[in-house]
Assembly symmetry: C2
Homo-oligomer: 217 residues x 2
DNA sequence: ACCTGAACACCGTTCAAGT
DNA sequence: ACCTGAACACCGTTCAAGT
């Protein structure tokens, strides 16, 4: 008589948890994620999650990391033919697109790369591409950071709040310049989009100015 | 025998609540603010707050608005002599300084101006200054938005997380370019500062390029 | 009008117990 | 090793009751 077969199959895994948490965040937002709700979605009881993650926060970090991991980095890789400006431009768009797909997790991502490996890979890829293009290392680091600031700042403001839907919420008399039309909810989407484009172009134009000043390549 | 004097003096007011909430946020962070803790700090019981605010979130919005209200806007006012580029530069610095003074509320601020009056006044002031300088209204709106993206994105990343203190947290082999030194915690502060400066300059240089293209003034 | 205590429906996390 | 139920110490918010 042989002993009982040990746990035939773990019900949970880090990957399954992250996937379910991501789906819950996407569907109902960050504040809808509780350990009990998430566990229920996985057909399991609340405390089970703690066999795979130390805290709920770690689960959300992992969800954020999974989104970072989906950002296209091909334009920053050594083999790619694009010049640094074009590479930065295309990367910014692919980054923004990944965030737009998962707007509710953006505030977690914006807190900084933390220990998230995919976030660090992003920073590393930009750094590598910029140094290869001739930027000094210190400047390459700054470019990675400042692009992140702009892209994530734009995403937080655009995808997580913005102006209010209610047309009567503002008294035009209080804001002499904006009063007319510029802060209505239905205009907000196009403002966000065009402000992102304008800002990205300004950033890249400005970096070109600094690049010229480095001397010939 | 005259009837009991009616509530001699309200114990609470919106202003007192916002002030206490702000102090609590500054001292212990956003997640330390519970209605019970806040009420206790005010010498009152939890539900009392609901006589003055509809939700806890509204209290935090008011705290965020109070921080916005402290941003210096003098450089954007009609009388001021500064050209638009200098005004934008100085405003960005005063904005960042106000956020650095209250780092824990930054994530709330970053969600967008919402219904917060001080946030809207900021947007209005930038819009007014840019149109007076000759920018077309649509561009003036975008400049306000894109500057906000950059300033708040930088503040969220810098003041609320960033890289990790633990020097052993990263395996350099995983990040060939960053491995050496660029992501150590003690370097993070100077990186944030210099990346902000570099990005701000790039943004302003880039806007100047676009401004020239508008034609003569 | 403004504050209170009690209560409701939740939280994140720990832990002894089971297999 | 991995999952469970029970429990702890909290939450935000509502509401009847008091003054």
């Amino acid at each position: 008589m042989w002993r009982m077969a040990r746990p035939r199959k773990p019900l949970l895994s880090r990957d399954r948890i992250v996937e379910a948490a991501g789906a819950l965040v996407d569907a109902e937002g960050l504040e809808a994620v509780s350990t009990r709700r998430l566990a229920a979605a996985l057909g399991v009881s609340g405390p089970s999650l703690y066999n795979h993650f130390r805290t709920k926060d770690e689960i959300l970090e992992a969800v954020a990391d999974a989104v970072s991991a989906r950002v296209d980095l091909s334009m920053l890789e050594p083999g790619d033919g694009r010049d640094w400006r074009t590479a930065l431009h295309d990367w910014a768009h692919s980054y923004r697109a990944a965030l737009a797909d998962h707007p509710h997790i953006v505030p977690v991502l914006a807190r900084g790369p933390g220990r998230r490996p995919a976030g660090l890979r992003l920073a590393d890829a930009v750094f590598g591409a910029m140094t290869r293009a001739g930027w000094p290392p210190a400047q390459a680091t700054r470019i990675g950071a400042l692009m992140r600031y702009f892209i994530l700042g734009s995403a937080v403001a655009s995808f997580a709040g913005g102006f209010v839907d209610d047309r009567g919420a503002y008294d035009p008399a209080d804001y002499p310049h904006l009063g007319q039309a510029h802060l209505l909810a239905d205009r907000q989407r196009e403002i966000d989009e065009s402000a992102f484009e304008t800002g990205l172009r300004a950033l890249l134009d400005g970096l070109c100015v600094q690049y010229e000043a480095l001397g010939p390549h």
